[in-house]
Amino acid sequence: MPLTWVLPILIVMGLVAYGLSRRRAIASVAGDARRLHSLPGHYGLNALLATMVPALIVLALWTVAQPLMIERMVAADFPRDAVAPGSTLALTLSDVQRVAEGLEDAARAGVIDAGRIAAMNLKEATEALRAGGTVMAAPLTEAVLTAAVEYHARTVAMRRAMLATLLAVAAIGAVWALHRSRGEFRARNAVEQAVRLLLIAAASVAILTTLGIVLSMLFEAMRFFDQYPWQEFFFSTTWSPSFSGRGGASQLGILPLLWGTLYISFIALVVAVPIGLFAAIYLSEYAGKRFRTVAKPLIEILAGIPTIVYGLFALVTVGPLLRDAFAEPLGLGNSASSVMTAGLVMGIMLIPFVSSLSDDIISAVPQAMRDGSLGLGATKSETIRQVIVPAALPGIVGAILLAASRAIGETMIVVLGAGAAARLDLNPFEAMTTVTVKIVSQLTGDTDFASPETLVAFALGLTLFVITLCLNVLALFIVRRYREQYE
């Protein structure tokens, strides 16, 4: 790992630059620190930042770009007819990479001499790989070995080049900062400007994340729509991916998945909204202080429990219970995983979500409105129903929309509680499946990123993202508007 060496070297260089720069600044004013523009430490920090930050940026970019560039170069040299029948160039190249890394592992483990790699023959290389602990699926071929040796050589060369570049960048930064380290230099302003840029960069990570989400899903989804007609995807009512890997046989319609998602979310909201809302009203309007301090945190514990726990609860407790108590006696089916199971458990999960948001909103209604209504002779419940809830309604709607978005995007409860069969049905005791379940099942296990069966997950993800995004933006908009109203 060159990384483990590069970082300490850079840190040491930065610290040395710090010390030198600080001393030089003090020396430039003949030891009288009062004549410096900034504190001595600022001159040091300026040199430290100038040494390390550009070098770290180069390091980050280089680490991302290096494998891509090497792969492209090796691919250009790789003889196309050496690709095994039934395999693809990409797969073979990943083999090449494995072999190259395996040889390096072997060299590091001391099994072979690093200098020998370039001159190895097939037998030697196979043995070295085995001794180094690399397991190969297929026997090594001459072409792969040649490419791997080239890959290795280029990696080593690139690594050296990277080290040299990094050191040069760091040294230039250090020298430049040292050169500027004099009494009249406004070091504080320079440092603060740099720190400010770092802060802005940190704040932009959020934007990069969103961009990354949208772009990654958009690209792969477009590759999916190249292979599969979008009309079929959005309007077909059958979901039956073929497992043979032949693209033509699959039917990938999103409608049954959306139906399952919406049905389960609907049941979850039917459970969570009344309970959450009434709990919020009771806690904020009726409950005494002592009851409130006990009950509110208890309900909020529900929000802190991981969804996998709810999933297991659905699988082990709720599912069999519903099947034995309702579905089988009523003749509605005999499946433990069902829309009802997932919906009920998800409803429980959403109770604290609805209740704490509504609580905030109800508390934000001005006391004067309550006093006015009570003063006119209304009972407490009349005040709540006819004054507080209407006043808080936009905020409550926003909270419900946020809960709906959470329900639609929930994964583990439905993976464990709802089942895997895609169907359009009204019976809530039947197993159905959701968008998120299918994303998980299409992307785990053996995946082939060229087949529509795998790529469809990205289209599903994009659909999910767009739906939840719309709900979130709408909800945030409503909540924000409402807050401003009473502030």
């Binding site: 934007i207 690209f219 429990i305 726990v309 709810y310 082990v316």
Partner: protein
């Protein structure tokens, strides 16, 4: 008096002390409404209790494990054909040779205890976990001098025998089960009466790696706990500095312009994006594009970092906002720059709030499952990852994923393990949340 008030009121009719029908109705409605509220709160609390009790009831038994004490004759002729006691030479002897030794040892132990066994050799074999054979072999290879002696070893009983002592397997269910017979159970009971078989605290559950599909009794959380800790370290090292820096910028420096608006909307959106979408991001960007290894804590850590950032940013901004402007004004008045006033005065005062938010964000990240499924952490991993930083790139699993993994296996003994793993996970979460509450109580200042 106008007509309106006269028609509406009840002045002058009846006594004030006797409520009329309408008042009674309104008061009844009031009481009903109140009961609805109380009912809603109770449903929430009851749901919590049922959830916790059902998990505890399911998982508590995972912390106990049945073992059998066997005197195993380590036959030199079979284990060390070369006679050199050289571990390298003995490594050629596979577990296949060790299995009969354990069985013979068990038979001899049973006979020595004066128990009459009505079971054949194969049935004896089945009572011992397959894992124990491998364990014995490792033990012998580590201590070659033991060969030739008869040593007492404590081996795992098979999953069904273990289940029998936890009430999961009964004589009735054994009749229908192809993996265990009532005779074996009877023998196990006699072994326990002879104090050769006992059920004790299950340390292996916390330290051992995952067991294969057919060895639930050997499955442990060691790799998963290590993987989770690695990921939390990465999340802490990345999300805390980035989150705090972003919040300082947004709260203290950002001008009111379009760009700031875009960032703010983005952060509130990211907080509500489904977690599985972050998994897709990790798969597409970190694994497929940047070529980071699958199943590695580094990828999991990066994905969870992006997920946790909004939580930390929101908490940090609230903490920064709570520091009164007078602190900033005083610092500026004494000649500090804006940056100094923030870094030297506002930030330290906001630190308790920031740490509380960070711990809560970490707790969320620790329990997150869905994104990790997509980046390959469901893989079956038996090797412990190396020490960091190299270990960040080794395959590992995480606690919640291990739970999911166990729920997908056929043997019902794995459900018990999943329940036990959930207890471990909840204990971690409880500890983190208590730390957060403690920090808030102890250090938070009210202005």
């Amino acid at each position: 008096m106008t007509d309106a008030t006269r028609g509406n009121g009840r002045a002058g009719q009846g006594s004030l002390l006797v409520s009329d029908a309408r008042t009674a109705r309104r008061n009844a409605a009031e009481r009903r409404f109140r009961i609805y509220g109380l009912l809603a709160v109770s449903i929430g609390i009851v749901a919590l209790v049922v959830l916790l009790v059902s998990i505890l009831a399911n998982g508590a038994s995972a912390f106990r494990q049945t073992t059998i004490r066997i005197d195993v004759p380590l036959d030199a002729a079979r284990l060390d054909p070369s006679g050199t006691r050289d571990p390298a030479a003995m490594a050629g002897v596979t577990t296949f040779r060790y299995a009969p030794l354990l069985r013979e040892g068990l038979a001899a132990t049973i006979a020595a205890a004066g128990i009459e066994a009505e079971v054949d050799d194969r049935a004896l074999d089945e009572m011992i976990s397959d894992e124990s054979v491998a364990q014995l072999r490792r033990h012998v290879l580590a201590n070659p001098d033991l060969v030739g002696q008869t040593v007492p070893v404590e081996v795992l009983a098979s999953g069904r025998i273990d289940g029998f002592f936890k009430g999961r397997v009964t004589y009735a269910s054994a009749e229908l089960d192809s993996n265990v017979t009532p005779e074996q159970l009877r023998l196990a009971e006699e072994l326990r009466n002879a104090e050769l078989l006992r059920t004790g605290f299950n340390w292996r559950f916390l330290t051992a790696p995952d067991g294969s599909d057919t060895r639930p009794e050997a499955a442990g959380l060691g790799v998963a706990i290590l993987g989770s800790i690695y990921m939390m370290l990465i999340v802490l090292a990345l999300a805390l500095p980035i989150g705090v820096a972003a919040s300082i910028y947004l709260e203290e420096f950002a001008p009111q312009n379009r760009w700031t608006d875009v960032i703010e909307v983005n952060i509130s959106n990211l907080a509500a994006v489904p977690s599985i979408v972050f998994g897709i991001l990790g798969l597409a960007i970190f694994i497929n594009f940047m070529g980071l290894p699958q199943s590695a804590p580094i990828v999991g850590g990066l994905v969870l970092t992006l997920m946790t950032l909004p939580t930390i940013i929101i908490a940090t901004r609230a903490a920064l906002k709570a520091v009164p402007p007078s602190i900033r004004d005083a610092a500026l008045g004494l000649g500090a720059s804006k940056m100094q006033s923030v870094l030297h005065h506002v930030l330290p005062l906001a630190m308790p709030g920031i740490l509380t938010g960070t711990i809560i964000g970490l707790a969320q990240a620790l329990g997150e499952t869905a994104p990790l499924l997509l980046i390959g952490m469901v893989a079956f991993v038996r090797e412990y990852p190396d020490a960091p930083p190299d270990g960040f790139f080794d395959p590992a699993t995480a606690l919640p994923v291990q739970i999911y993994n166990w729920t997908q296996r056929a043997d019902p003994a794995f459900v018990e393990r999943a329940g036990g793993a959930i207890i471990v996970l909840l204990l971690f979460l409880l500890a983190m949340n208590l730390t957060a509450i403690f920090l808030r109580r102890r250090f938070e200042r009210r202005w």
